[in-house]
Symmetry: C2
């Protein structure tokens, strides 16, 4: 068998056979793929060592059986498609973040295994049978729900992005990290199944003076935030499934709050308690954190909305251009205020803009996917994307943003991102001033 | 610390504290959750040993850090949510099938790790850098594509179901397997990213007499099928991503054919070769297999479409009713001819039907999710669902189906499924004759 392998792997020999099989002998081979598809697609005819063996091993030997993967995993060739964290960014790994590799994904959904994580006390392993959700405060009936109570209530399915308020936060003072995974990786987009929060609140019965909720998580950080009742009754969900299956532990298993279009920090995970009150709680995470320090030293508070934003995921520093000729530029766009209506792309640093092709379903407060199919002959590019949303808002430049916000902020940086594509295809995080 | 654990686990003590925290002391506790939510939701007040400790460990100790899961996995409490196979069904594990646990899922998407597998030579581990796709036959230019060639062509995103022609095949002669995972688990529903097959065929240039394609896989079974050119030019994709990430090995990594609405066997995985011809090839998988033997001994051939179908996933034999009062009945519906327009549900074996609530996005040739929120007081139920599609077609009963098809068939069984829900909630696969 090892001998067979050697034979099948024999470069010259197998190449001759392969070309024959492919009908690419003689003149055809000379012209070959290049004439066929043109420089713009295949580049040059592959060299012998680049060709597959005439009959690769995977076509000769049985693969894995159906009982070998009760729960499937990605191919071993995809081992570098992972969430990554930045060690110097936080003091501990439990109160930290890792980032979604958008440059390695496509479409509008984030696979559950690659949804970025942000937690303040680590990701706990909550036992769903022991977990309870309590609703109390300004209600007619204080209630306690088990998971099976909640899963017998009317449920809905919604696709929404979750973006950390600090996504792109490191870029306020200029380009810092090389890769959209790090500059824009604190967002994921998932189909949730859950019970409208309104249904649970109606079970409890709201007192006339009810105006705000305190939503609290069951993890060691006891994460809590104040949520306006109006939003809670509008479109919030108490979700127990993501992309069809149970929430992942790091995403709040067995129960999380979904707050469409609002900053991720308020999407409380491991949701255990909802207190109804008549004013906000001024909790730590909405006073000392998750506020926006302005140039004059005052801080914006309760800046819930994630405004329209976009980023080109390919090419990008982690995904440089590798071929001249035909290429696909792609990226993601989203708005916490509504739907993405249009995405513009520039290849020349904003001198000229073209409308990108948005493909795939478009939902409110969801990531949309855009494409520009273009031809590249090795010229230097300055690429940017800008998002228009259904409110008529246009994603601002970073300098426009700084005019109003200064550079003290950490959160809510939705400025236009610039990548420099060099003649050799290498791509870099830069800013045009 | 172990002592703390003991204390926090102290039933009576911690219950008292918990009820106090929950404001459910004294009279409130007596009436308690039940009065609050009514029998129909919570049933009786939980017993002390059912209550969580006042402060569960996951609220007291740090959880996992962000570097612990480069690629995430489900909670350990979800270990029974897996694909399952039926050992006696096939002679070998490599030419076999496993089934998607729809009774444990929700929404319309199947997580990649739970998409049913069906292969004829095992699931190979194909090296994407060595993989090639060849297009030859009645074309102007015979072509060979590397993965990077294909990934530089214009791509689209589409949500489609893939159903094995043999899904529910074991039910032709009457109820056989207890569980929708086994009776209806050979379908999954995924968002694909790929290049329209039309784009690749246009690169090659079709001869005037081109009418059929032979599509061939790179696995050890060399799976091949004849595909009418008209369908290939209509909506077929050469896909490289599913639900945002690369195809899984068992789903054709790095490249598979997507043939919306048609039987799964023709969605060739590990796609390596497309030959263009002027007539079908009469391959093994479209003559001795994947044909429908009629009562008179003749066989239907090239029966590509998967007709409108549905199944109730909850309650079902693997997911019995466990609580009286409010419950959620849910299931999935789909049609290979177009979109699901309506789903009817009966609780009394067809005497009376009600329209189910369809929730979540509706796509052409995709699974849709339906719900009936109902109240159950322990009465015996005979539950069925039936799917209407955009062509006006209504899913038939099994006996209607047998009138035309006899009972020799293995494939294309889209008859209405019946579950019997007993007084104790246990649920069984039955048929009404």
């Amino acid at each position: 068998m090892s001998e067979e392998k050697t034979n099948s792997g024999n470069g010259a020999g197998s190449r001759r056979q392969f070309l024959k099989a492919a009908g690419l002998t003689g003149a055809a081979a000379a012209a070959g793929g290049s004439a066929a598809l043109g420089q713009t697609l295949t580049g040059v005819q592959p060299k012998a060592e680049e060709l597959p063996p005439n009959v690769p091993d995977w076509s000769r030997y049985l693969g894995e059986g159906v009982a070998d993967r009760p729960y499937g995993k990605p191919s071993k060739f995809e081992a570098n498609v992972i969430r990554r964290d930045v060690e110097w960014l936080t003091a501990s790994r439990q109160s930290s973040v890792n980032f979604t590799p958008w440059h390695q994904l496509d479409g509008i959904l984030t696979p559950n295994g690659l949804c970025f994580e942000r937690h303040h006390g680590g990701a706990p392993d909550v036992d769903p049978d022991a977990h309870r959700l309590m609703i109390h405060g300004l209600v007619d009936r204080q209630l306690m729900f088990s998971m099976s109570d909640i899963m017998r209530m009317p449920r809905v399915n919604r696709v929404h992005f979750l973006e950390c308020a600090a996504n792109s936060g490191m870029e306020w003072r200029g380009p810092q990290l090389n890769g959209c995974q790090f500059t824009h990786g604190m967002i994921h987009n998932v189909m949730y199944t859950g019970v409208p929060l309104k249904v649970l609140l109606n079970e409890a019965g709201l007192k006339p003076n009810a105006k705000w909720l305190l939503v609290e998580g069951g993890d060691a950080s006891g994460m809590n935030r104040s949520l306006p009742l109006e939003k809670a009754l509008d479109d919030c969900l108490v979700a127990f499934k993501m992309n069809g299956e149970a929430l992942r532990p790091e995403q709040g298993y067995p129960l999380r709050l979904v707050v469409p279009g609002w900053e991720g920090n308020i999407w409380v995970k491991w949701l255990r308690r909802i207190e109804v009150g008549d004013m906000p709680w001024l909790a730590r995470e909405e006073t000392s954190k998750y506020t926006d320090l302005m140039a004059d030293g005052r801080a914006r508070r309760y800046t819930f909305f994630m405004d329209a934003k976009s980023v080109i995921t390919n090419p990008s520093p982690q995904a440089p251009l590798k071929h001249r000729g035909r290429n696909v530029l792609t990226g993601i766009a989203w708005s916490g205020r509504g739907a993405v209506t249009r995405v513009d792309v520039t290849l020349d640093g904003g001198k000229s803009w073209q409308e990108a092709r948005i493909d795939g379903p478009i939902f409110e407060r969801s990531v949309s996917r855009f494409y520009v199919d273009f031809d590249w002959q090795g010229e230097e590019l300055l690429i940017q994307s800008r998002c228009h949303d259904s409110t008529g808002y246009l994603q601002p430049t970073k300098s426009e943003l700084r005019k109003f916000r200064g550079v003290n902020s950490i959160y809510h940086n939705n400025g236009i991102q610039t990548w420099l594509v060099r003649a050799n295809g290498e791509t870099e995080n830069v800013e045009i001033t």
